[in-house]
């Protein structure tokens, strides 16, 4: 296969030129009010996107043809690396992942501008200008500081290969989904800034980008869960979330985007919280880029690495420009963003949404604070302090529990106002279910306050959401339809509402799975053949060791028989391998999973005599996390196919507000 690698760098340089041209055309169109210039800008952006595609194809071609004259190819692939993992090498390193980011950004920008409803040429022009500006930054980074096409002379005969941990099926999907989410937020961000710049501050900007926001959020959500699944099956420590800065970097924009998705409903329904929504979408995009800065700049290992790193010093001014520029435009348009309505009552769905937003933003602040505190302490005191999982568990969990409670309370409260009596009546059943769950678990010997609270609130919230489905279905039932048909009709007739509830049910299942982890059992032991160890109710016996070799690795395949109550119930085959290219050992875990608990077995060492170190975990309810993610994905599918929102209520008489300004 002929390497097209040499085409990569020139393509990026020419793309840079076209993006500058596109940006200039968009700005000129917006300022001079010439829509046809905006069309020219879009054409220039399409050419730039095409050239970035050429660069991506060039890098893929270099990877697949083993063209080790490119430093990136030599660093992240090898001749023995299989085809699918050669593909993952595209985003396995910093330069490749930035190219992949730019590729997604240009494609999204072209599609978003092309499919933007015929609303306002000026809105589209400013959105194009913002997207061109962002693309310009990433292309400059690729051309100057993080070039994936840097040459290596002399070229080595083989590459270093991909980190064995990244050679997992999850890595084929997890990073692209995260990038899809991160980059996807650039579209609502660009349209929000455009609305501010063009003073088109009615609903247009968020209705035009609603699907983009949902799409980005959905991709990020699934990407985060898949990252957890990858950690669970590959890293061998029995868990799925470690509050690692890289995980936190993906979680931060998810938290603010979730807050935005909720608060924008208030803007749709009541034309309130406009400043807040603008700030949230700005914050979401800044955090998405900040996450990339955090994980790619080297700042996490040390502040000194950051100053030495190739791209850290590029990101900081870009982030500052976006944040300060965004806040400045919001401040300038502050009067135009005044709410058109007021809360009618503290006991209303608007209040519940507001509380939800406070909690999500507080959660985001907590995670951000814990993530950057080591950096701040190093800057201010010269001493780097650790902030690990116990901090996040302690501070984040109460907020998460309150969010679960609000997820149940929200659907019970009506918009505008609700009497306390009506609320008490409607909340009786969910409260009863929650109380029964707590009592039942308490009687079964569960005494952890946190777990009781989490399971009880899950019961409460599940009952509240289920009763919404029942209430909706009753209408169709009264017309003679079956329960199943009624449920389907209920969901399909109002996909946004019920799709959201399905997502919430998925979240509840995930919370149940997370709460189960507080009952985890763990044991480790050194075993010779024939010896056993106990974990939870299981007896694990080291039965057999089989050794073999491939071109990539030396394999130690261990046979572990699993018994419970004196009866053999399963055989597991964990591995401890040695990868030649990286000179690195790697464990392959074995998991026996069911809805009640996972038995998770990992061999952490094998000595020449055949003795092994075996680590085993019993992880209760973990299965529900993955089922919850699947339910969430189903809900996201329903949400994404939902139509535009119902008409917002008309402005209440007598409200003093600024008129909605038409485009100049």
């Amino acid at each position: 296969m002929q390497s097209l690698g040499p085409l990569g760098h020139p393509s990026l340089i020419v793309a840079l030129g076209f993006v500058v041209l596109a940006g200039a055309m968009f700005v000129a169109s917006a300022v001079k009010q010439r829509p046809q210039w905006s069309d020219s800008g879009q054409r220039a952006l399409r050419v730039a996107a095409g050239l970035v595609v050429v660069a991506v194809v060039a890098l893929l071609s270099a990877l697949f043809s083993h063209d080790f004259s490119f430093e990136y190819v030599a660093n992240y692939s090898s001749r023995s690396l299989s085809g699918p993992y050669t593909l993952t090498a595209l985003w396995g390193g910093m330069q490749g992942s930035l190219l992949f980011w730019t590729f997604l950004l240009t494609i999204y920008a072209v599609i978003a501008l092309k499919t933007a409803p015929a609303i306002s040429a000026r809105l589209v022009a400013w959105a194009g200008a913002v997207l061109s500006g962002i693309t310009l930054f990433f292309l400059t980074l690729l051309v100057v500081a993080a070039d994936p096409f840097t040459r290596l002379a002399p070229a080595p005969s083989d590459g270093q290969g991909l980190n064995p941990l990244l050679q997992s099926p999850g890595m084929l999907i997890h990073p692209p989904l995260l990038y899809t989410g991160f980059v996807g937020f650039s579209i609502p961000f660009a349209f929000a800034m455009s609305a501010l710049l063009s003073r088109r501050l009615e609903d247009t900007w968020f209705t035009a980008t609603r699907r983009w926001t949902l799409f980005a959020w959905s991709a990020l959500s699934i990407g985060i869960v898949l990252g957890g699944a990858w950690a669970y099956t590959e890293l061998g420590w029995g868990g799925y979330w470690a509050w690692d800065p890289v995980e936190n970097a993906s979680f931060l924009p998810w938290l603010t985007a979730t807050a935005f998705l909720h608060s924008v409903i208030i803007q749709e329904k009541r034309r309130m919280l406009k400043v807040w929504n603008m700030s949230l979408i700005l914050l979401t995009y800044v955090l998405a880029v900040f996450g990339t800065f955090l994980t790619r700049s080297g700042i996490l290992s040390s502040i000194h690495t950051f100053t030495e790193g190739p791209i850290g010093k590029w990101f900081l001014p870009f982030l500052a420009a976006m944040l300060i520029g965004g806040l400045a435009v919001i401040a300038i348009r502050f009067d135009d963003l005044r709410s058109e309505n007021r809360f009618d009552s503290l006991l209303s769905r608007e209040s519940a949404f507001l509380a939800n937003n406070v909690l999500f933003v507080a959660a985001a602040f907590t995670v951000l604070w814990g993530t950057i505190y080591p950096i701040l302490s190093e800057v201010t005191t010269g001493v780097r302090l650790s902030v690990g999982p116990p901090f996040f568990d302690t501070v984040f969990l109460p907020i998460a529990i309150a969010i679960v409670a609000l997820t149940g309370i929200g659907p019970l409260i009506s918009w505008r106002r609700m009497s306390k009596g009506a609320f008490t009546r409607i909340a009786r059943l969910p409260l009863g279910v929650g109380a029964v769950v707590v009592v039942a678990l308490g009687l079964e010997g569960v005494h952890s306050l946190g777990a009781l609270l989490a399971f009880g609130l899950c019961g409460f919230t599940a009952a509240a959401i289920t009763s919404e489905f029942v209430r909706g279905s009753r209408v169709y039932r009264s017309r003679g339809a079956s329960w199943l048909t009624s449920l389907a009709q209920t969901i399909l007739r109002n996909r946004r509402r019920y799709g959201g509830y399905i997502v919430h049910l998925g979240v509840l299942l995930i919370v149940i799975g997370l709460a189960g982890s507080s009952f985890r059992a763990e044991r480790q032991a050194l075993l010779d053949r024939g010896q056993s160890m106990h974990v939870g109710r299981y007896t694990l016996t080291y039965a057999h060791l089989e050794r073999s070799s491939t071109a990539e690795k030396f394999i130690n395949r261990v046979t572990v028989t699993v018994a419970r109550g004196g009866r053999d119930i399963a055989t597991l085959y964990p591995q401890r391998n040695f990868h030649f290219a990286q000179q690195q050992p790697q464990s392959e875990v074995a998991i026996r999973t069911n809805p009640q608990e996972d038995l998770y077995v990992v061999v952490t060492s094998v000595d020449p005599s055949g003795a092994i170190a075996l680590r085993a975990f019993v992880n209760p309810l973990t299965w529900w996390i993955w089922v919850g993610a699947a339910v969430m994905a189903l809900g996201m599918g329903v949400l994404l196919t939902g139509g535009p929102t119902a008409a917002a209520p008309k402005r209440a008489p007598g409200v003093v507000r600024e008129p909605v300004l038409a485009a100049k």
Binding site: E350, S386, R493, R497, A521, A613, V655
Partner: protein, 155 residues
């Protein structure tokens, strides 16, 4: 009756799925808990519990051995800090300037909730909707809810 059956069903499901998950705390449980509260000296940015290196495996075994000898958690932590330095703690102490790491999230949450609460209260007091809302009779309320449900499902 339906409500009772539903609640009983939930209780049964909870008992069947979640019941056998309580575990006793032995020396290895103490060692596991400690390893989750200290950073690994061998894997940067990772707790000792999650670190896959051979040295970490040995240190975890050592901690389990100390716990089996009856050492208290405080004594084991003190030993680890003496050997590897204060950075080994997975969280800064809650004394002196380090207390800020614990306090700031709570302060932010209280301030955020307070601000939102005050704003919501003020907005609800200055509601501009002049429509009076007479109390509904129960049969009217039932009919209204049915019709609202219809509208919701049509929209």
């Amino acid at each position: 009756m339906k409500t009772f059956v539903g609640i009983a069903g939930v209780a049964l499901a909870v008992v069947l799925v979640v019941a056998p998950i309580a575990t006793a705390a032995g020396p290895q449980d103490i060692a596991n808990s400690i390893s989750e509260h200290v950073m690994s000296p061998f894997c940067p940015g990772v707790t000792l519990h999650d670190c896959p290196s051979d040295n970490a495996i040995q240190l975890r075994s050592q901690i389990a051995a100390w716990a089996a000898r009856g050492w208290s958690v405080q004594r084991i932590m003190a030993k680890l800090v003496a050997e590897y330095g204060p950075d080994i703690r997975a969280v800064p102490s809650d004394r002196g300037a380090s207390r800020l790491v614990w306090l700031l999230p709570s302060i932010a949450l209280v301030l955020g909730a307070g601000t939102a609460g005050v704003l919501a209260w003020r907005w609800s007091r200055t509601s501009t909707d002049p429509t009076p809302r007479p109390a509904l009779a129960s049969h009217d309320r039932q009919r209204l809810e049915e019709e609202l449900a219809l509208i919701r499902n049509e929209s």
